[in-house]
Amino acid sequence: MRVFIAGKGTVSAIGSNCIESWDALRNLRSGIGRISVLPTIYADALPAGEVKFSNKELADIAGMDARTSRTALISAIAAKEALLDSGIDIKKYRTGFISANTVGGMDKTEIVYSEYLTKKSDAQLTGVMHHDSGSITELVADVLGIKDFISTISTACSSSANSMMYGARLIKSNLLDVVIAGGVDSLSRFTISGFNALMILDNKLCVPCDENRNGLNLGEGAGYVVLVSERVAKELGKNLDLILSGYANANDAYHQTASSPEGTGNFLAMTGALKMSALQASQIDYINLHGTGTKNNDLSEGLAVQKVFEKVPFASTTKCFTGHTLGASAGVEAVYSLLSMEHSTIIPNLRFETQMKELNFSPVTTLIENIELNHILSNSFGFGGNCSSLIFSKTTLN
């Protein structure tokens, strides 16, 4: 049974919905820059892809209380867009919400924690009510009105991809008819400090895939797709023609934060996805790379791509525009991949200059329009060696 995509929604540094985001991508407008919303000493030192709205502004858009965790606000906006885009009345179908995040309500927790350190149990601690990842998903499920099943996956940077796989599998097993799947993450001082301690942040605008790359820029955002069964796709009568045709998750089993030099997990994820979609590597028209800009990832991923693809197809990373949105990245990039297919356009890397000496390919560096894209592979590789690949394909419904 094929799993169709009936709708999509996204929020990130480059837009608060699909139309804005696509406009920025197509016009090569990056959203990475000075951190202006989150109070942090690194505001000027570390560029990031921040969503350009305050929590109050996000709450107004989302129709939620302004005291809600930023993670939930961003998630709600994107998930609502996806559901609206699908035109589905969820009362008619068994509907699930499978989200992902790594940060949970940490944006609120870290504020409360400072107070807790000085005042201990005299501090006002109700702010930590939504600290856990699942609470964020619960808040958004309530906004969407989804009651049949909810879950959250938290596997670092591959999280949203794993959500989409889980959602697709639940549909194929006839447990659910419709699943809104994807993920979210919001910037927090916790995250900035953590990545800074790992010394993998670039203090300039990142240059992924480049020989002289110097690290990643953090980002925040959300990306969701509405997955439906073939039966529902037919009932919707909208001539849907995009499917999640293949996917796989594999583990590098090497180190908690570094990828194995050969990119074993990456390789297994890509080949696994190809196997499920019953496609040859040569049928992939474009790869949306994980491409974070770190020395380690871009090399391991590049080597693994070369191993899978005798002739590497067009490839680029949209993290040049949004930064690395962590738990949301696979969701955001799935939406961008689908937009690419719809517009027959490949979005290039930005700021690329020098090919990596170990690789035999470079990313796309100029916009490619009017190109037929039938199959797109999207990679997302996270800490803990968690490697996921998704393949989106064009098909005909009948």
């Binding site: 301690a197 790992l198 010394m199 180190h255 908690q256 934060t257 570094a258």
Partner: protein, 85 residues
């Protein structure tokens, strides 16, 4: 220098949580990474934190790490050469 090396060993054991080792068991010229003590890239980052927190020395480029952190002695030499007064 001997005193610094002794202090450094204790600090290394603490920073890296080497519960199974005593500071005295680390040789002055024993390789810390790879075959020697078996430390990894995260430990290298922890040693960078140690340098900064205890000696005020900032390593902006982690690539310098392998040379400086080869042995306790090379670390001590680097500290003596770079410590802020």
């Amino acid at each position: 220098m001997e005193e610094l090396i002794g202090t450094l060993k204790n600090q290394i054991v603490e920073q890296l949580n080497l519960q199974h080792l005593k500071a005295e068991e680390i040789g002055d010229d024993q390789l810390l990474f790879g075959e020697g003590l078996g430390l990894d890239s995260i430990d290298a980052l922890e040693l960078i934190v140690l340098m900064q927190q205890k000696y005020g020395i900032k390593l902006a480029n982690p690539a310098e790490g392998p040379k400086i952190f080869q042995t306790v002695r090379t670390m001590a030499d680097y500290i003596v050469a770079n410590k802020k007064a």
